[in-house]
């Protein structure tokens, strides 16, 4: 089981949990496993073709999977996977208008 760090905007899909456990030999398998437990996560992370969206980055430990094997990157059981989206804000009032 890898540990997956969920960004704040997606925690509503993980019952508020900042970290969840997920299975998978690769990142693609891990995302499918996440989806089976937390419905709706996959379509936020991936587009219709299953490709990780361009405003989302996935890290294994401190390394970006785009510079490894993308979604085919293999996982070790004690890896920590982080999902990191682009964040707009600096001044939430204006961002909301």
């Amino acid at each position: 089981m890898a540990t997956v760090r969920i960004p704040t905007p997606l925690r509503r899909l993980t019952n508020g949990n900042a970290e969840v456990e997920a299975d998978g030999g690769t990142i693609a398998e891990l995302i499918d496993n996440l989806e089976s437990n937390y419905e709706g996560l996959k379509k936020r992370i991936c587009d219709e073709n299953g490709t990780v969206r361009r405003f989302v980055n996935i890290y294994i430990n401190d390394e970006d999977i785009r510079f490894l094997d993308n979604a085919d990157t293999e996982l070790e059981p004690d890896d920590v996977v982080s999902i990191i989206p682009a964040i707009a804000g600096g001044n939430e009032t204006e961002a909301a208008r």
């Binding site: 704040t8 361009r54 405003f55 890290y59």
Partner: protein
Amino acid sequence: MNFTDEQIERYSRHIILKEVGGVGQTKLLNAKVLMIGAGGLGSPAALYLAAAGVGTIGIVDDDEVDISNLQRQILHRNEDVGRAKVASAQETLNGINPDVKVVPYNMRLSSDNVMEILREYDLVVDGCDNLPTRYLLNDASVFTGTPVVHGSIFQFEGQVTVFDPTQGPCYRCLYPEPPPPEMVPSCQEAGVLGVLPGIIGSIQGLEAIKHIIGAGETLVGKLLLYDTLRQDIRKHILHKDPACPVCGENPTVTELIDYEEFCGVRW
């Protein structure tokens, strides 16, 4: 540069640090830093840069102070509600340190003005609140070779890095394109814990000062993530992407783009 007696006293706690010294303090006094936004992130960053004696601080913001800003935007005071943020900011910063020349830009950053403004500055502190401005600023900073200290926040979480186009990745190396309108993460009215921009903006101020005086290692090529609820701070590696659409080997973004502001739909 010859310091006045008052400057020697004012900056004495800097000057006795060997990493700053008279040389570093002179660099600070000669530095020109542009703040994008006088809001939650820009407030603490600008306060510390002014206190540190950064000689010229430009501030771009077209907004007025609203009472709901005061929970976190510590450049502004109760009596400033309704004033232009740049005017309020200028008064606060001059009140802290008369050595600082504050240049207000009461406007929104656009493709018409960004290049002209950027060329006047050595470094940018990005505390803006929207993705179109972040992409515009990124592309312009790649064209002018200006480093950007980036900060962003959402609710309880913040991100900081330094994009220095002369030596490291840019924002598009990290996120090549803005999200489609129906999928903008984290720009809905979601609230923010007031201390969070205080911390993230202060880290931006720190990175700006380190860059100016050349001390330590800045966050070039590293993304710092801070989760206040868990007091969890970690760093991830950022790579310069050879396929980056603006700073890569075959750039497709060769002129400035004014993206439309879109928000309101939940990611």
